[in-house]
């Protein structure tokens, strides 16, 4: 967990910041993992249960495909996106609207510490700079710059997530949106994005589920999903939903 300073032309960014014509240095804390493909997940701080679940599942999906999930470490959708990525042992970047020495909102401090140990937290601002309203707009710009494409999960009209989407569009990046109920105020912005041409996300593919079905023993499952914690989680879920039965180390699939 080291703090380090990166210039926009640092090869680590893969030219993302240069293309966004950024000239300021970036302060970062965490692990300097390889930044290959990235996805930005943003949305409201007050999501519906539906939005929160979709954010979590989408982050899981992309993280398990090897994407780095970029979000803003705010309450709500951002938080769920980071959690989802971490839940599959994926990589995630939290972008702050203040210096590394401060934190806002307090509710995500625990999550931030987790990200610092397993991912990366980045910001424009020097160590002790406190959060200010205008900074969060600039923070959104950084999210858009770091993401290869952006997904707006749930956002009302006049949302910071829409600002991020505007930045992404102006940088020539794809923006996708998650459709939601038409009478839900907290989703009017994201629904409107679809009308304006954003690609709607209508499905979250179940990564690897098909592959697991080939597994006949616990050892095979471990080999398939990579480690035993994930395998145990999968077994607990499949067993609890009545899809498999474990007999010693044999996995018996039950037809439903």
């Amino acid at each position: 967990m080291t703090v380090f300073e990166l210039q926009p032309d640092d090869p680590w960014f893969g030219g993302r910041l240069l293309r966004a014509s950024v000239s300021r240095p970036i302060y970062a804390k965490g692990i300097r993992f390889a930044l290959q493909k990235t996805v930005g997940l943003v949305g409201t701080r007050h999501p519906s249960p539906y939005g929160a679940k979709v954010a979590y599942d989408l982050a899981r999906y992309y993280a398990s495909l090897g994407y780095v999930v970029v979000s803003g470490l705010a309450f709500g959708i951002d938080e769920k996106a980071h959690e989802g990525a971490l839940s599959v042992g994926g990589l995630t970047i939290g972008v702050l609207g203040h210096g590394l020495g401060a934190h806002y909102p307090r509710a995500t401090l625990e999550l931030r510490k987790l990200i610092e140990s397993q991912g990366l937290v980045v910001t424009w601002y020097a160590h002790q700079v406190p959060p200010r309203k205008a900074f969060f707009r600039e923070r959104n710009m950084l999210i858009a710059a770091l993401s290869d494409f952006l997904i707006v999960v749930e956002a009302p009209e006049k949302s910071g997530a829409l600002v991020t989407a505007d930045f992404a569009l102006s940088l020539g990046k794809d923006v996708k949106a998650v459709p939601a109920d038409i009478d839900r105020l907290s989703a009017r912005g994201s629904n409107r994005l679809i009308v304006e041409g954003a690609e709607p996300i209508i499905d979250i593919p179940d990564v690897g589920a098909e592959n697991w079905k080939q597994c006949r023993t616990v050892e095979e499952l471990v080999a398939e999903v990579g480690d035993f914690v994930e395998a145990g989680r999968i077994i607990a879920e499949l067993q609890s939903t009545g899809k498999v039965q474990l007999n010693g180390n044999m996995i018996e699939w039950l037809t439903t």
Partner: protein, 478 residues
């Protein structure tokens, strides 16, 4: 003036306290005094003794009669001192421990408390007793004891007379068949819990048979061995061939649950060496759930009341059952949970408190789980018990589930590949140390059940699947 000395005793929790009784009489107005903090039940011995003596043609000594109970500062209660007083009057001093209640017709009887006194005295080294006629199984748990059993006080007088033989043992109660439980995975989980003495939490929607499993767990538990039976006799005063089994309700009060310092054992003690079922676990009062923590760590209960302090044994296998949420339908294949996420969080929060942290195995019980017969479940459990007892001989632990976290690494050896997988999990998934220890403990029992010498990664996965039920439920909250 002659002073007659006889011995009887008291129990403190399950500890024994010998009581020396000195009897004397002399000139004075005719009174019968008992001194030494005697309570009503003991004091009433006066009348029972008087008429019991009359039944064999004797009478109380004339004049001023005094019986002193020593040490005199302890409260004496119970009717089991009667026989000692009678013996003192008709035979004089004795160094045997005399326990038993007498009736007006001179017959000598057993009380629950007198059995506890005999058993705890035996455990603290007493070997010679004069007592009522005991059942065969009670005599059996104290093989070194020399019992002089009397049915009637008359028999105290005739040493040469025919000795009564022990009565037949009480019938073995029939256990509900474990095979009635539906669901192969469920039976596996119950078997693992019984085999490694892992506390078990059964979760599920209402009506899927959580309680029913809890009730049938006793059928796979091996029988009590002799020293355990002696322990049970010391604490409860009753003896059964099957393990103690206590089904408790969330309406229990702390005194009823943990026992009182006045000498009444609580549920946790009555379940000693057996199964304690806590139905609807999250509904229990907070003070019970908090208090249970120390009980489970020390395997004993301390109850203090005034200047009395009683330590009860309480080493039980906890089987808790719980709904997943207040309405009960979270995780149901068809029905929808009507609770708010906050309500569910709060409910599940009670399942991750300090006590729930000490429960190793979690299992989600389903209504239509496919079933298959388990082969000789009880024998397999017994086999694991033997194996684990042998492995940890001399360490003070006999089951994997009883090993505390700080000794897991020392007592359960793990192969380098498994160790590497565990370390990787700790690093990658932020697995806590406590969680890691639980997984190792459960894996050890699973490996033993399958007859493996070494823990494999497959065992870790199975153990982990028993730890991932709550995270799965949390992921369903919307």
């Amino acid at each position: 003036m002659e002073i007659v000395k006889v011995w009887s005793g008291l129990t403190y929790g399950d500890a024994f306290m010998p009581v020396e009784m000195q009897l004397t009489y002399g000139p004075g107005l005719p009174v019968f005094h008992m001194v030494g903090m005697v309570t009503e039940s003991t004091e009433e011995a006066k009348e029972r003794v008087r008429y019991a003596l009359k039944s064999i043609g004797r009478s109380m000594p004339q004049g001023r009669v005094v019986v002193a109970f020593l040490p005199s500062e302890l409260t004496k209660s119970g009717s089991h001192f009667d026989l000692a007083i009678v013996y003192g009057f008709v035979k004089g001093s004795s160094d045997r421990l005399i326990v038993g209640e007498v009736a007006l017709d001179g017959s000598v009887r057993t009380t629950q408390h007198s059995l506890r006194v005999i058993a705890s005295a035996y455990r603290s080294g007493w070997r010679k007793f004069i007592c009522p006629v005991l059942p065969q199984d009670v005599v059996g748990v104290m093989p070194e004891a020399d019992f002089f059993m009397v049915e009637h006080v008359q028999q105290l007088l005739s040493d040469s007379g025919e000795k009564p033989s022990p009565t037949s043992s009480s019938d073995v109660p029939a256990l509900d068949a474990f095979e009635d439980v539906q669901g192969f995975g469920l039976k596996q989980a119950a078997l693992t819990a019984a085999a490694g003495w892992h506390h078990l939490l059964l979760m599920g929607n209402p009506g899927v048979g959580k309680t029913m499993v809890a009730e049938r767990m006793n059928a796979v538990m091996p029988e009590l061995d002799n020293s355990e039976r002696l322990d049970v006799l010391c604490t409860t005063g009753t003896l059964s061939a099957v393990r103690p089994y206590r089904f408790t309700s969330w309406t229990s009060t702390p005194a009823g649950f943990f026992g009182s310092a006045k000498g009444v054992a609580g549920e946790v003690t009555l379940a000693h060496d057996g199964i304690l079922v806590m139905d609807e676990f999250p509904q229990y009062r907070k003070d019970i759930l908090e208090g249970l923590r120390t009980v489970m760590d020390t395997n004993s209960v301390i109850s203090s009341y005034g200047n009395q302090r009683i330590v009860w044994p309480a080493r039980f296998l906890l089987v808790a059952t719980s709904n997943p949420c207040p309405c009960g339908f979270l995780g149901h294949p068809k029905k929808v949970c009507k609770d708010s996420p906050y309500q569910v969080q709060r409910y599940l929060g009670r399942l991750s408190g300090p006590v729930a942290d000490r429960i190793d195995l979690h299992y989600w019980v389903k209504a239509d789980e496919p079933d298959a017969k388990l082969d000789k479940p009880r024998d397999r459990v017994l086999e694991v018990w033997h194996r684990q007892r042998e492995r940890w001989q001399g360490t003070g632990f006999s089951h994997a589930g009883q090993i505390p976290g700080d000794r897991v690494d020392e007592l359960i050896s793990v192969s380098p590949t498994v160790r590497a997988a565990l370390e990787n999990a700790v690093e990658k998934h932020g697995l806590s140390k406590r969680e890691k220890h639980k997984i190792i403990r459960i894996s050890r029992t699973i490996a033993d059940l399958e007859g493996h010498v070494d823990i494999t990664v497959a065992h870790l996965v199975q153990a982990l699947s028993y730890r991932m039920v709550l995270p799965w439920l949390r992921s369903l909250i919307q």
